[in-house]
Structure formats: structure tokens, C-alpha cells
């Protein structure tokens, strides 16, 4: 029986009037690859933030009410060493006007601060990571000159350089072409095989979830379904999650969502 990487019990988050998550119970064994699917506003990003200890969000959204428990590797999220966690946020949130080279972005994942100067060992390690995700040629490219897919690779290298035990990805395939997407899953699976890491990935791509994930979590503020992809990605559970799944939609499961 594998150790538990992520455990939530009766976990709820409420931002002002908005119930983002309701009584979520979830247990993810170490080494699992969980795809998180659900409609917009279903609390998918909130769930990842809870694991990072950032569920309180911005003070701008008013008081946040949190109840229930979260454990990451058996610890409350804020006590988990940051080096255990690799986080790849949504690409649309990136500020590309920041003057930085791809290499610096990767090194920042190692240092957990912004590097003023990069040491030779850091450079070597960062180049290895970029090479690993097929982005070595981008090392000295400016952030503002990277495409969405290239940026995703750089951020993936950034999260892998600290050799995390838990990798959290927020829609990593968005803005990535089909070849890039296949690469992404190849890199994730390779890293997982090598380190036995746990991966939680938000995606809108059910086909990818079916093919690559060991489990699928269907979330719509509460857990609608959780289990092996073939059992969870059924018509009934998805119509429960999305409210209305037309006949066209469930065919999409085998196609490209």
C-alpha cells in the first residue's frame, strides 16, 4: 500500500458569498497521476492552491472561510518544504514583460528567489532540465520572445529542477500544439517513472486524461467522481458535473475535447 501524497477531509473553501469547494474528501496515493476535470469555476485551481497553502487567496476577495483538513505528504500544506512541491501555473497568468532569460526562470525554481547572478553549477543543472523538456535552445531566449508552448516547457523545467515529490499543473496543455502536448505527457511520465512522484494536473482534455492519468477527479465544487479514468469518465458522472452533457458531448470523450 503506497503512502498517501494528498489527503483532504471535509474540505470546504468559501470566498465571501462564493462556495469554491464543498466538503471535498480525497485521498491520492504517492505515485498517482491524477487528472482533474470539471467546468469553469468548479474549484479546480482552488484545490491546487489549497495544496500549496495559498487557499486564502488575495485579500481583495474578502474573507475566506476554510474548514476541514488538508494534508500533503502527511503535513499541513504550509509546513511542507517548498522544495517538495513543483507548481506550473496557468500560462495566461504569466507576465512576459519581466526582463528575464529562460535560464533564469529555471534557476529561480531551484533557488526559490530571483537570481542576480547564476553560478556555473546552477547553469549546468538548469540546462540539463531545459534539455530534458526539449528546450535547451531556449536557454538564453528572453521571456517575452517565447511562444505559449515554449513558455510551458520552461516552466515545466522550472518546476522539475527542484525534483518535487508532488507536481501540480494548472492546464499545462493550454496553448500548446499537438506535438508539444504529446511531448509534455512524455516528459511528465518519464519524470514520474524516475522519481515516483505524484502528479495532479488540471485539464480540459478528457482524452488526455483517459490516456495518461492513473485516476481522474471530476470536480464541480464537490467531488463528483474519482477513480480510474474508464469508470469515472462516464456519461452520468459527467452530466452531473457539467449539469448538461448533450449527446454530442459524451462522444467527445473518445475524440478531442
Amino acid at each position: 500500500m503506497a503512502a498517501v501524497a494528498v489527503e483532504l477531509q471535509q474540505y470546504s473553501v468559501r470566498y465571501g458569498e462564493f462556495q469554491a469547494l464543498r466538503e471535498v474528501n480525497l485521498s491520492v496515493p504517492e505515485g498517482a497521476f491524477v487528472a482533474i476535470v470539471g467546468p469553469n469555476g468548479a474549484g479546480k485551481s482552488t484545490l491546487l492552491k489549497a495544496l500549496l497553502g495559498l487557499e486564502r487567496g488575495s485579500l481583495r476577495d474578502g474573507p475566506t472561510q476554510v474548514s476541514g483538513t488538508v494534508r500533503v505528504m502527511g503535513l499541513p500544506p504550509r509546513q511542507v518544504p517548498p522544495g517538495w512541491l513543483g507548481y506550473v501555473p496557468q500560462v495566461k497568468g504569466f507576465d512576459r514583460s519581466f526582463p528575464a532569460l529562460a535560464l533564469e526562470v529555471v534557476v529561480s525554481g531551484l533557488r526559490r528567489r530571483w537570481p542576480f547572478l547564476i553560478t556555473a553549477p546552477e547553469r549546468k543543472k538548469a540546462e540539463e532540465m531545459l534539455d530534458r523538456v526539449g528546450a535547451l535552445a531556449l536557454a538564453n531566449r528572453r521571456l517575452g520572445r517565447l511562444s505559449g508552448g515554449e513558455l510551458q516547457r520552461v516552466y515545466l523545467a522550472r518546476s522539475l529542477i527542484r525534483e518535487p515529490r508532488l507536481l501540480l499543473l494548472d492546464e499545462p496543455a493550454t496553448g500548446v500544439d499537438v506535438v508539444g502536448e504529446a511531448d509534455l505527457y512524455r516528459h511528465l511520465e518519464a519524470y514520474q517513472a524516475e522519481r515516483g512522484a505524484t502528479i495532479l494536473m488540471i485539464t480540459h482534455d478528457w482524452e488526455a486524461a483517459q490516456h495518461h492519468a492513473s485516476a481522474v477527479l471530476v470536480l464541480n465544487r464537490r467531488v463528483v467522481g474519482y477513480g480510474p479514468p474508464n469508470e469515472v469518465l462516464c456519461h452520468e458522472c459527467l452530466s452531473q458535473a457539467f449539469g448538461h452533457v448533450g449527446h454530442g458531448h459524451h462522444l467527445v470523450l473518445g475524440g478531442s475535447a
Partner: protein, 263 residues
Amino acid sequence: MMEALQLPFMQRALLAGLLVGGLASYLGVMVVQRRLSFLGDGLAHAAFAGVALGLLLHEEPLWVAIPFAVGVALAITWVRERSHLGDDTAIGIFFAVSVALGVLFMSLRQGFAPDAVAYLFGSILTVTQTDLWVMGLIALGVALLAPLWSHWAYATFDRELALADRQPVLFYDYLLAALMALVVVVSVKVVGIVLIAAFIVIPAATARLLSRTFSAMTVMSVGIGIFSVVPGLTASYVLDVPAGSTIVLVQALFFALALVLRR
């Protein structure tokens, strides 16, 4: 200029210009990259209100302006963190309130206030030994806080990633705002309230145009901030005009050159 430097007040002016130019352009890189350029203006006017209050109370204006401006800087940050109002709106409100208070304090003071004009446009030649000591202390403080650069830069690059790595981002935001306020207040005599924002924004913006990395931008910004002072002060001496104006114009010249030269 060489013989002018024999004069103690010119020596003080040069030293004050270099200190203020370096400090403002250093913190300026964070401010510009965080799109908070307007913060410099807002704090300058808070300094104006503080100076006016100091003059009204017959206290040394610096000692009143420092706590006043730091208070406003913290308040602006507090409102920014807690409301959906844009940064420009939060700053704009405090800007307006500060000017209103400044005008009120000036009017309550009996008689004409000739010194007020000096504060608006700066009078670098009236920099005192005390002013220099305060500037020097702030410069020393900022230098001792140099390790904060990598934390501020990280949160400027990506706030969420910095938070995910357990950085006390909020605390560093308040610290940056408070240091900005200190630098703005001590810059008042050198540049004047109306032109302080230029000291913060122009060197950083120029450096941004020419830099591929944030560390290069920082070094270049400080370089421009410091270097602009010498030709600016010389021109001010030769033409007998306020130094704030000539230094800012030199900075603007660098900015224009950078616009043309950048690749």
C-alpha cells in the same frame, strides 16, 4: 564646475544628488516593473503635505514629512492589497487627499511661505548637513537590505510563485512602499515635489529598454540614476536654474537615446 566644487554647499549638493539619484533609481526598477510608476507622484505629494504640516507646526519639515509619507505609503499598500480598486485609483485617492491637506496646512500658516516654493521645485543648494546624514542613513539601510532584491524581484516576476515558495510577499510589499516613501521625502530638497517621480521612473525605464535581464536592468538603472547627476548639476550651476530640472532632463536624454539605440 571644478572651482565650484571647492564650495561646501556645492559639495553637499553633489553628494545629495548622487545619493538620491542612486536610491531612487534602485527602488525604481521594482516600481516600474510592477507598473506602480504613479506611486512616486503619490508619495511626493504626501511629502508635500508632510512638509506643509511641519512648516505650520514650526518643526523641521523633514521630521514631520517622513512619518507622514511613510504612513501614506503603508495606507496605499493596504488599500491596494484589500480592494479591487486599481493601483492607480488607490494612489490617486491618497494623492488628492495629500494635496488637499497640504494646501490646507499652507493656508493655515500665517503669512507668506517662500520656502514652500523651494519644496515644489527643489533647492539642492540648501541641502544641510542633517539632510545628508539622513540620506546617508537611508542609503546604508537600503544597502544592508540588498539581499531583499532577489525576494522583491521574485515577487515582481510572479507573485503567486513567490507565495507558493512561502515568501512573505506582503511584508516585502510594505517594506518597499515604506522605503520608497523615505527616499521620496529626502529627495524633495534635491529634485522638488513635482519632479521626484522622474528620478524613480526614468532611469529604470531607460534601463528596461536596454536590458535582457532584471539584474542588468537594476545595475544600469542605478548607473544612469547616479551618472545623470554630474552633468545635470553642472548645467544647473552654469545656467543658474534648479538642479532637479536639469538632472531630469539629462535622464530624459538617456531615455531618448535608449529608445533609438535599443535592438
